[in-house]
């Protein structure tokens, strides 16, 4: 078992690498760049900013830097030497280092432990004035777990943004999943047990409706009815826990509508799958055996049928997770929730390269992990899979 999990985890590496590569080049090949919108920027400033983000390098080099294979030059700055001057001493506050740089392109570290390098930019032989660029080489990329600085959110790294916004998406996703599983499995199991009765038709009609009323129809409708007309729940936003909430315990009521909107759709899918799986299982021979043993119908269902009947639902969990993630794009837009989904859409629109890449990789890792969990869950439910 552990060997299997280990093997699967190893397999993540090439997959993530492929995703990173494809996304990196796809994003870069798209027309436009993060700064093309800012009209008032002069060409020179733009070049400087690009250089600051390392975009002056050839693409392949940027790619290697992003992966963290190649080191990039950071804290780059220029030192100009007047004629006759052959060294300068100054402090770099940001890295807490005091440097002495010589006109012969040499750095003497005086304080601070990082290796500094210098490179001639211009040596004007006639006036004997030279310009030296001082920088540090640092590897910080995917291999180091760094997703890089955001291009648009000044002063924030992609890691920060994900750390801030993902918990909101996660919370929403968990509520939706809970609603989907609880409602879906209950409705599906009841429908299967009472096949061709009102208890089958009614939940299944609702399930059909749930599938045909996609989130972006359901969402506005719920808002219209429960938010605007009945005014039961807030229509938008995402307040913090413990604040003045809808419920006394400080649980914010603005979770209700988004969670229901997203949850109902998947509840419908789960209900249909569960019903199908249960019917299939209930028609099998071993259910007859169980009945012949004199078990009550409840015990037949709970002990013997449920496990097999839930297998299709469990294998749907993987796609469902992925669906809920992408569903959150829509939900977060409708309900103006500052979750990761909205950041992703914004980042894509603004060409915030690092944020796009970072989000894609984060989502990919998440989905890979969830798929692995689903597979383990399946093996746990089905001893025949476990044997393989």
């Amino acid at each position: 078992m552990f060997r299997y999990i280990f093997k699967r985890l190893i397999f993540f590496i090439p997959v993530l690498w492929v995703i990173a590569t494809i996304t990196f080049f796809m994003v870069r090949m798209a027309p436009g760049d993060p700064f093309s919108d800012e009209k008032e920027m002069t060409e020179e400033v733009r070049d400087r900013i690009k250089a600051y983000y390392g975009m002056d390098q050839p693409l392949w080099k940027q790619y290697l830097i992003y992966l963290g294979v190649t080191a990039k030059e950071v804290n780059k700055h220029r030192v100009t030497f007047a004629s006759g001057e052959d060294s300068k001493e100054y402090r770099r506050e940001d890295v807490n280092a005091t440097l002495r740089v010589t006109a012969t392109a040499e750095v003497k570290t005086m304080q601070g432990d990082t290796q500094w390098l210098a490179r001639f930019l211009d040596q004007n032989t006639t006036t004997n004035i030279s310009e030296v660029e001082v920088f540090r080489l640092e590897r910080s990329g995917l291999l180091q777990g760094e997703l890089g600085p955001s291009f648009k959110h000044k002063g924030k790294s992609v890691n920060d943004i994900i750390r801030e916004s993902f918990p909101k998406s996660l919370e929403l996703g968990l509520y939706s999943m809970a609603i989907a599983l609880f409602l879906g499995i209950t409705a599906g199991a009841i429908a299967a047990l009472k096949q061709n009765t009102i208890l089958d038709y009614a939940p299944m009609s609702f399930a059909m409706a749930g599938i045909c009323l996609p989130t972006f129809v359901m969402g506005p409708l719920l808002v219209l009815v429960f938010g605007l007309w009945l005014e039961w729940f807030p229509v938008a936003g995402w307040s913090a826990w413990g604040g003045e909430g809808f419920f006394p315990e400080g649980w914010p009521g603005d979770r209700v509508l988004p969670a229901c909107t997203l949850g109902f759709f998947y509840a419908a899918m789960v209900a249909r799958l569960t019903r199908g799986g249960m019917l299939e299982t209930l028609s099998q021979d071993f259910i007859k055996t169980a009945r012949a043993k004199g078990l009550t119908e409840t015990r037949v269902v709970v002990k013997h049928a449920l496990r097999g009947g839930l297998l299709p639902t469990v294998s749907f969990l993987g796609p469902a997770f992925a669906g809920i993630i992408s569903g959150s794009f829509v939900i977060e837009t409708i309900f103006t929730i500052p979750g990761l989904g909205r950041h992703f859409i914004e980042a894509a629109t603004n060409r915030d390269y690092t944020l796009v890449l970072g989000t894609v990789l984060f989502y990919a890792t998440l989905i890979l992990m969830l798929n692995l969990i689903v597979d383990i869950l399946q093996a746990w439910l089905n001893p025949r899979i476990r044997a393989q």
């Binding site: 798209a30 045909c212 972006f216 409708l221 894509a348 629109t349 894609v360 990919a364 989905i367």
Partner: protein, 331 residues
């Protein structure tokens, strides 16, 4: 001589599985309803716009933001000469004296108009054309890729199969919608890209279904019998495998169309799909949702059409599944 003998024979006309399935399909009320509703929506979307007096871009000024089938009242203030084209209040906004009705013009917008005075009905039908077109085109793309991929994997088996299906497994694990979003954002929103982007997402399941079916069929003894009878590979694939594959493929295709339409509308809803002047149900729903408090019909009509289409396609799909499923057709 022999022929004379057979000429007298009254052949029992057999019922083919197709005939049988058709009968079952038409016995299924929901499926028939789905078929009718879907045909109606399709017909309206493709023929309707040319029958309407307005297209979806024409601005009918006096009728701005009118509810469905509402007539137009104009009011006159006794103190001014102002004509209020329509009035929410009963009083003049300048002098606050009660208004007097001046004229009533007949209703002329079946589903009302939007804030600018554009006919919603025209927009909904026009949007339907786009949504349906995307639905079918993208499904076609996914169908072609999925069937070929799955059939090759299933038929050749062994390493080819392992290789192809491993790719599908990997792709399954990817957050595909994210890539579609990326593609649409990064490379501009054009139709062709939309078809292919969505098609590329939806082919995976199709390939799995086709593969499973081919594998099952390959082990059926009639395929082995065909080899034993010396039939060529092409004959086996086209005369024996393909017709038997058609059922599940048809079922899944019908269920893919609504999935694709859903995806398209999600993109359009996020503002990443179809672009003005073109419109689609997703776009209309988005616009409707923005002003739904004041103009609920702008949300309700496109949503109703969209949902009706999804309903009918799903009913047809379920009906086809019941009709074509070999398990239920045995005995």
């Amino acid at each position: 001589m022999k022929r004379d003998r057979l000429a007298d024979v009254k052949f029992d006309e057999g019922t083919s599985l197709w005939k049988d399935a058709r009968r079952r399909l038409f016995q299924n009320k929901m499926a028939v309803f789905g078929l009718c509703a879907f045909s109606l929506v399709t017909l309206l979307s493709f023929v309707g716009p040319s029958l309407l007096p307005y297209d979806h871009e024409t601005i009918d000024l006096p009728y701005q933001a009118r509810p469905p089938l509402s007539d137009k009242h104009s009011f006159v203030c006794p103190n001014h000469d102002y004509v209020h084209l329509y009035s929410v209040d009963e009083n003049c906004y300048v002098c606050n004296t009660p208004l007097e009705p001046a004229a009533i013009q007949p209703a002329r917008h079946l589903m009302g108009t939007d804030k600018l005075g554009r006919d919603l009905c025209a927009a909904v039908l026009r949007g339907g054309r786009v949504s349906l077109a995307v639905g079918f085109m993208a499904t076609a793309v996914s169908l072609v890729i999925g069937v070929i991929w799955g059939a090759v994997a299933g038929y050749f088996g062994g390493r080819v199969d392992q290789f192809l299906m491993r790719i599908v497994d990997v792709l399954y694990a990817l957050p595909f919608l994210i890539f579609v979003v990326l593609l649409m954002v990064m490379f501009g929103r054009n139709f062709l890209l939309l078809f292919f982007a969505i098609g590329f997402v939806e082919w995976l399941t199709m390939s799995r279904i086709v593969r499973a079916q081919v594998m099952a069929l390959k082990n059926q003894e009639f395929v082995e019998a065909a080899v034993a009878l010396g039939y060529g590979r092409m004959r086996i694939i086209f005369c024996h495998l393909l017709p038997n594959l058609l059922g599940p493929v048809i079922i899944y295709t019908t269920l893919t169309v609504p999935a694709v339409m859903l995806l398209e509308s999600v993109l359009s809803f996020l503002g990443l799909g179809v672009q003005a002047p073109d419109t689609s149900w997703g776009v209309l729903i988005k616009q409707g949702a923005e002003g739904m408090e004041d103009y609920p019909w702008l949300l309700l009509f496109p949503a109703a059409f969209f949902s009706l289409t999804l309903f009918s396609l799903n009913f047809i799909g379920d009906g086809l599944r019941d009709a074509l499923d070999p398990k239920s057709s045995k005995d």
